[in-house]
Structures are given as C-alpha cells and as structure tokens.
C-alpha cells in the first residue's frame, strides 16, 4: 500500500512533484477574470435595501420615488420575485426531525436578521441603484428579539418561526458503550465549558454574480463566483422552472471561497429573478459591509464536555453537549446542522476509548445564517478534545506528548470504528506524534520555556492531534435528498496536434485543482504537462459532478482524471497497435511518443496517431473507429469518507501585562495519503493554519443586544495579517487510501482543524504559573487579562 505509484525518475512522472501552477501566471499579471470584473452588453446593476432591524414585521414599502429616479429600471419587493421563484427549505431527510422555515429571495412580510435584503433596485449603475435605495420608505414594526443562545432556549421567550413552539432547529444524540459507568469508576474526570465565537470567511473578493436571461432563447446563463456550478445549475433550473439543459453556470476565477460561496444566498437568487424580469444581464457584487451581514458565518458553539480517565491516564469516556446557534434559517441546500453534526462525531477521534455520549442542539436566533466554512466542525471538536486531554495530562501528571502517545489508536490497529460512528481505514497518529516531537525540538522548547519563565517571559507550547473528513461519498448529502453529487466526471480528448484537453467537473479556487489534474493526466498518459489543457467551471462544457468542496478535489476529482486517462491511453494504444502491427500490450507512451514497452524504443508520436485518426482514417483497417475522446465518471466506493490525520504544534509568548499573544512558530505533521504536488499541499496547510490562527486569536462577529453586527468592516473585524503570523514548519506521513488507485485524500481543512486547539493549549500552558485558564475562542487580550485577574 505504501509502495509509490510512480517513480519520480520516470519520464513524465508528475505525481509527487512540486511543479508551479500553470494558471497562476495570468493572476500574477493582473489578468484574472473574476466575476466582479465582468461587464456584458446592456448589463444592469442591482443593489439591495437591507433591514435595519433584527426582527420586525414589514408593515409597508413605498418605492414610488425610487421608481421615478432616472436610470432605474426595476424596483422589486418580495411579492414580485415570489411570483416566479419557488421557495426553498434548508432541511435534509437524514437529519431526522430538523425544521426550517421556507425562504424566498426577498421577504414578504417579516425580516429575521439585521442586514437581510428587503428591496432590490436595478439601475444603469450601482451608484444610481444605491441612490434609489435612499428613496425607498419601509415601515417596520419591531418584534421581540432572540439574539444569544440562552434567550433562544429560554422557556416562554420569543419564538422566531411562527407555528413553532420553540427555537430548536434540530436535536441529535449519540450514546455508545457505558458512559455513566465509566465516569462512576474513573480515577480522574476533567470537565470544562467552552465557547467558540462566530466568525466568517472574509474572502478578499466578495460574493459576485451576473445573471443573464435571454427570453428569446428561454435560456439562463449565470456567471457565478462559486465552487459548485452544477449545484446552482440544478437550483436555478428547479426554482425558476427553466429546463436544466437551458441553464448554464460559469464559475471562472474566484477571489476565495472556503465553503462560503457554495450556499444559496437570497441576493443571488434575487439577481437571477431580476434578470428574468428584465430580460437583461444583471450584476451584483456585495460590498464589504454587505458581506459581513449577509455571507454565512460559522461556529458559534457552546460546548460542555467531560472526559473520564483511569489512574494511569487511559481515556475511558467522553460526555459532550454542544449548543450551536445558526441564525433564523437553516442554509440551503446543505443546511446549517452539518457543523454541529460533525462536532459531535469528531470528538475524541484520535483516541481509543469506547464510551461516548453526545447531545447536539441546533438553535435559531435573529442573526445571519451560519453554515459550512472551511473545516466544518473540526476546530470545535479538536479544541474541546485536545484541551480536555491537556487538562487530564496535568491532573494525571503526564506530559502532553506522553498522554497522547498512550491513548491514540495504534497505527497498526486499523481499520477502526469510532464510538461516534466513523469508520477509519488507516491513520498514522503514532508516526505523526513521533515526527512532531523531533520537528519542533520539543525538549529544547521546554528547556527554553523554563529558562525564560525565571526571567518573567511566559512562553507556551501546545499540541493538538486531529482527524479530518475528506472524499465524502453520497453519505454526506445525497442520502439526505440533496441534489449534490459525490461523483465527478471528465472528458479527455486528444487534439489533432497530439495534445490533450481535459474537461473536468472539479473546480479551481486557487488551491491548484487544474494544476494537479494536469499532473495526473500527464503522468498517467505519458506526455509533458504543458501539453495538457484543463478546463473547469462551466456547466455547458464540463460533465456533471460534485466540484470542489469538503476536500474532494484531489481524492475524487484526481481519481476521475486518473481513470479517464487510463481509458484514453488504452484507446490510443489500440490505434497505435493497428498502425504498427503490434499488440497494444507491447506498446507504451513516453513523452508523447508511442514506444516499445520493453525497450522504450520510439515508434510513432501521439501527434501522428491523431493526424491519421482525424484526417486519414481511410488508411486505418476497415471497421476501425478511433476513439480519441473518452468520458468517464468516478464515484467513491468503499469507506463513506477517507479520513486523514495529523498533529500540530505551536510555540507562542503571552505578554501578561497587556494580554497580547505572539505566535512564534507553528508546526504540523500531516497525512493526506498520496501527495500529488507537495508544494501545493504545503500551501494548503499554511493557508489553513493561518485561518485557524485568525479564529484562535482575532476573529469574531460581535453583536449588540439588539442584534446589530457592530464590527462589520475590515477595519473593525480583525483578520490575520502578515505581521502577526509565524513561519510554519511542515512534515508529512503518507498513508494512501486503498479505495482508489491514486490513493489521495484531502488536505484543505487540516490546517484550520487544529490550529485554534493548538493555540488554546499553548496559551493555557503559558498561563500555568498563574493558575489561570482560558476556555473561550477567540483568545483576545481582554480574556487573558481577565483570566489573570488584571482587568
């Protein structure tokens, strides 16, 4: 299983090689083609009037003055769009009992968060559209508010959804083994209540969409900055009643997504409807303030958790309750309960214990929706587990490395099923733990820490093991009734000049999808990478597939490309064999040349095969039909998910006078299976870690008591910048999945999954001499000073 798929010494061996992304040169030259750059003939611009109230009845809307403004083409309210767009509901069947109210592009009679779009204006420029917004009068009548988790759960308090008796969206319970018994007989119990603030994706390019409905053709084209063009093709088709084949979604360059741009947004659905009403292209780009109040947020969990251990420090059981508040609706079509579901199922994932109980309660509140954002649920499960493990280590008198070495599932003990119900094919916690110890010079860091403490410098060292969910099968969304594919498709063609075009359903957001697909195709066919052109992100030309999310691009998209290429190679060799009077099995392809498999002697270039097949088929034996285009689909089978694992380490310094934290260095040992491009994998890890460090130390969507987001700008909401971020040291262990030939798993969430847990442990480690603890993320200077009783 660990034998390399290819040797890097072989010609055209690209799997495992750090090669730069061919498509990055355009971006470096300022030649990116983002949706926010797009301008179509006769295009109009949309702007939205937003609710200033977190919960209110819409009494009346007066748009007369706005309609009169020169340059305004359309002013639309909820009822206008409800006539042409069917409502959507963010529930999935496999989340038993979950509820959410139906949603429309614009509300009919009630607003449920501050910032919700209420009226749309379409005009000849964005500026004119915004001028018109100022002429609209909306009369609201305040309704009672639900802002925080406690008031949402309070008996007899305000209820957000009419017809409901409470604000519960979904409840779930897991109970495996004998939890009560394990706690009753435990030598040690550690317990803590954790809170995780809301944060948001803050992609540098805000959400952008251009909808272009052609009434003459009855066809809709949507240029949509999204990860998932096929999902939106399906949704626009079904909610606007246009045949799927007449809906085209084009997702070109995108200025960051991280999960945020794969959800249905009210404005985006509205823009499609506005284009249908006008028969002209309509563009909408959220400004930064709109992004903060209307992009999905993530996290917002309060977790009470305890862990039972025996006298030697063996973990016996965990008991967890996660309360999470998701806004007024569950997001469509992936819902807002997936994060909580993954929180309770990823708890304790690296460890061997058998007794587990968890309760999840997903709660409505008057804020913008939360939903899937990078590393869905992972950072919460990881921080809770890893902090409890550190607390247990202190109680038992073990070093953090020792207690983990004692409790992780042994590398030779797989397959395993976790007490939360996940099936692990093969993980490498022991190897990763050992490697991290060396990589961070753990003993050296501890010695330095002890020396510095004597001088009043408080450094902290933290580690955090994690398990990541990748390569999801239909068990993720398909079983719940969502029309979200877990398979991918590719169409490969040999051009008449002997190059290869690959149209594939996975999409590119800058992580290097197109680069790794071209590496796989070139490697498997035996041609130079520069002779492979990869085309993604256009439902009109690429086959239907899941696209890129939840760490499936390399594992599922890559396997699709691999299998498609092998099929194309068979077809090429079949024609070559006819021309050369050989058996196909006696031939191979190296550097674009058909060679004798045994001697590698060159026989005929692919370009010559292509020339004959396309232009001189008369010279082929009668009955021969050359197939130099293949289409191929691949759906993951075997394990429902390909889990990955790793461990992170962090060294930081806490200024106990100011509460400021300086991260000095961060480390990660990661196992994502077969590595296709080491440089791109490392960049995914670094970027992911920095997003996790942002969550750990800075990022929080802060709300007032009246449900107003009070820090919704890039000057007020703190994101990690170059100054505050450390260098990150990376090492790998490779345990390929045996479910595919390629053996690749995902790597996009790994950095974010454990970075905040690592920082939480390191800050607590730094504060040990003061008997002060932190249990809340983000770890702001005020929280540290409060823990130190200095504020």
């Amino acid at each position: 299983m660990s034998a390399p798929l290819t040797s890097l010494d072989r010609p055209n061996s690209y799997i495992g090689r750090s090669v730069p992304r061919p498509n990055a040169k355009r971006l470096l030259a300022g030649r990116g083609r983002y949706v926010s750059d797009l301008r179509l003939p006769r295009m109009l611009y949309a702007a939205f009037l937003r609710s200033p109230h977190a919960h209110a009845k819409i009494v009346s809307i007066n748009t007369d003055e706005a309609r009169k403004l020169e340059g305004v083409h359309l002013v639309a309210i909820g009822a206008d769009l409800a006539k042409i767009c069917t409502p959507w509901t963010g529930t999935l069947d496999h989340f038993k009992g979950m509820i959410s109210a139906p949603q429309l592009p614009l509300p009919l009679d009630r607003v449920v968060w501050a910032g919700q779009a209420v009226v749309a204006v379409v005009a000849e420029s964005r500026a004119i559209a915004e001028d018109a917004l100022e002429l609209i009068e909306v009369d609201y009548e305040d309704l009672p508010l639900v802002v925080d988790i406690d008031s949402a759960r309070a008996a007899g308090g305000p209820v957000i959804n009419p017809g409901s008796t409470n604000n519960i969206c979904f409840r779930a319970q897991l109970d495996n083994g004998a939890v009560d018994d394990a706690f009753a007989h435990a030598a040690h119990v550690v317990e803590e209540e954790f809170s995780f603030g809301r944060h948001t994706a803050v992609t540098l390019e805000p959400r952008a969409i251009v909808a272009d409905y052609d009434p003459a053709a009855g066809a809709l084209t949507v240029h949509h900055a999204t990860q998932t063009p096929y999902q939106f093709q399906d949704l626009y088709s079904r909610h606007y009643g246009i045949a799927e084949a007449h809906v085209r979604v084009v997702a070109t360059d995108i200025g960051g997504s991280f999960g945020m741009k794969l959800h249905v947004y009210h404005e985006d659905m509205a823009v499609v409807g506005l284009s249908i009403l006008l028969g002209r292209p309509v563009k909408y780009v959220a400004d930064r303030i709109e992004s903060f109040v209307s992009d999905i947020h993530a996290r917002d969990h309060r977790v009470r958790a305890r862990m039972a251990l025996d006298a030697k420090g063996e973990i016996l059981a965990m008991d967890v309750r996660d309360l999470t508040a998701i806004g007024a609706f569950s997001t469509y079509p992936r819902t807002s309960v997936v994060e909580g579901n993954q929180v309770i199922r990823l708890m304790g994932a690296p460890y061997r214990f058998k007794n587990y109980r968890a309760t999840l309660e997903v709660i409505f509140q008057n804020k913008v929706q939360t939903s899937q954002y990078r590393a869905v649920g992972h950072p919460i499960a990881c921080a809770v587990t890893e902090r409890l493990v550190d607390m247990a280590a202190a109680k038992v008198g073990l070093d953090p490395f020792s207690i983990r070495a004692q409790n992780v599932i042994a590398d030779d003990a797989y397959p395993q099923t976790s007490p939360t119900g996940y099936r692990f094919e093969a993980l490498s916690h022991q190897a990763c733990l050992k490697r991290l110890h060396e990589l961070m010079d753990y003993d050296g860091l501890r010695a330095e820490q002890a020396d510095l403490r004597k001088r009043g410098v408080y450094r902290g060292i933290g580690i955090a093991a994690f398990v990541e969910i990748t390569n999801p099968s239909p068990a993720f969304y398909g079983v719940g009734g969502a029309r979200i594919s877990s398979q991918d498709g590719a169409i490969l063609s040999v051009t008449p000049s002997g190059e290869v075009r690959c149209l594939i359903s996975v999409t590119e957001q800058g992580q290097g999808t197109e680069a790794i697909i071209s590496q796989i195709v070139a490697d498997q066919l035996g041609i130079a990478q520069e002779h492979v052109k990869v085309i993604t992100g256009d439902t009109e030309v690429t086959p239907h597939g899941g696209a890129t999310w939840a760490c499936r691009g390399a594992g599922i998209g890559g396997e699709t490309a691999l299998q498609a290429t092998r099929a194309l190679k068979r077809n090429i060799l079949e024609i070559a064999a006819l021309i050369l009077q050989e058996q196909p099995s006696a031939l191979d392809i190296i550097n674009g040349e058909i060679v004798d498999a045994g001697t590698r002697n060159q026989r005929i270039p692919i370009s010559e095969i292509a020339r004959i097949a396309y232009f001189r088929s008369d010279t082929l034996p009668p009955g021969t039909q050359a197939q130099l285009t293949v289409s191929h689909h691949f759906a993951p089978q075997g394990y429902p998910f390909a889990f990955t694992n790793g461990i992170q380490g962090c060294s930081l310094e806490v200024d106990v006078e100011t509460g400021f934290v300086k991260v000095l260095k961060h480390f990660i040992v990661e196992d994502c299976g077969r590595i296709i491009n080491p440089m791109l994998v490392d960049e995914q890890l670094r970027g992911g870690i920095v997003q996790g460090l942002g969550a750990a130390l800075f990022e929080e969507c802060r709300y007032s008591e009246t449900g107003q987001l009070v820090n919704g700008s890039l000057a007020d909401y703190l994101v990690p910048m170059a100054m505050e971020m450390p260098d990150i040291v990376i090492a790998h262990v490779e345990t390929p999945t045996a479910d595919t030939v390629l053996g690749a798993k995902g790597v996009g969430e790994a950095g974010t999954a454990a970075a905040s847990a690592c920082v939480l442990n390191a800050v607590n480690d730094a504060l040990t001499p003061f008997d002060a603890t932190i249990n809340s993320i983000p770890i702001t200077p005020i929280k540290i000073l409060k823990a130190l009783k200095r504020f």
Partner: protein, 174 residues
C-alpha cells in the same frame, strides 16, 4: 419604465473631465465627482487587475503607483488624481520591472486565488525600491496592510526575500 415620459437632465448627471498618464499613456475620462479612482481604473479604463476588497483602505487589493508612491485607489476620488502618473499591475507587468517578483511568486506558489496578488506585487515593488535588503520582519511589516486569506503569507515573504537577495547579488537594485 414603460412609456417615454419627459426626462430632464439635472446636476447629478454632471461629469468632470480628468486626464492621467496611466501605464505610460495619456488618457482622458469623464467621471462623476463621487467616483473613486479604483472604480475609474476598473470601469472606464478597463484595468481590472486593480481590485476592490474593502473600499476603506484596509486590505491593499487596490494599491497602485501614483506619482511614484503606492496609494490606495479606493481612498481617493478619480478627480483628485487629475494630472497624475499612475501605474497599475498591467503597466508594471508590461514594462518588465516586476518580472523577477512575478517569476518568484510563481515558482513558490505565493498566491492562490490571486485576488490580493496585484496589490501585494505593487507593495513589494515599492518596498524593494526603498530598502535593498529588507529583513523578513521588515517584509512582514511592509505587507501589514495587504490582506491575503489564502496563503498564510509565508510564501509571499519568501518570494520577496529571495528577489531582494537576487537583486542585491546581481548588483542591480533599483
């Protein structure tokens, strides 16, 4: 919007003629007084390599060179730039002055989505024209107004560091 009512032009429709030298060429535009420089560059001049990320000078996506210094094109009105010499990512690319930075960013994959990249390059170019051999700390400090959500910054710092060293070794600092 139906019918053809009598329409009267008013003051709000007035535009101002401004002239710049953009990427080495004289250009003139009719702009509304409220139009920002970034909007003018992106819309009227179709120079979409300059990006708008926050429209309040916090993210650095809109950085351009104006009369030799780096400015946020989202923080000034187009009329304020009347008469200025402006270089955008497109012009810096064509002139070749940042070719080594671009090649090093590419080689090290110091970009993912690429939306911050033009601003990063404009800023890095300014830094290296002021300080021949900045330390890693100085590079990070210089980038402290350029937000990147994708990379984690390290590869960007590495790329700028490598170019600074290469320029110094070749004796060709600018």
């Amino acid at each position: 919007m139906s019918g053809f009512d009598e329409i009267v032009l008013d003051d709000a429709d007035e535009t101002v003629r401004v002239r710049f030298v953009v990427n080495g060429r004289k250009v003139a535009c009719e702009v509304a007084p409220r139009e920002t420089l970034v909007d003018c560059l992106r819309n009227a001049l179709e120079l979409t390599g300059t990006h708008a990320g926050c429209e309040m000078g916090a993210c650095g996506a809109c950085l351009v060179q104006l009369d030799g210094r780096v400015v946020h094109s989202c923080l000034m009105f187009a009329v304020q730039a009347d008469g200025a010499k402006i270089n955008t990512i497109e012009g810096l690319t064509e002139s070749g002055v940042i070719a080594d930075l671009q090649a090093e960013f590419h080689r090290r994959n110091a970009l993912q989505c690429g939306f911050c990249t033009p601003g990063m390059l404009v800023n890095a170019h300014e830094l290296l024209s002021r300080v021949a051999q900045p330390s890693r700390g100085e590079i990070r400090d210089a980038l402290s107004g350029n937000y990147c959500r994708c990379t984690g910054y390290e590869a960007i710092v590495d790329a700028i560091d490598a170019v600074a060293k290469a320029r110094s070794e070749s004796g060709g600092t600018t």
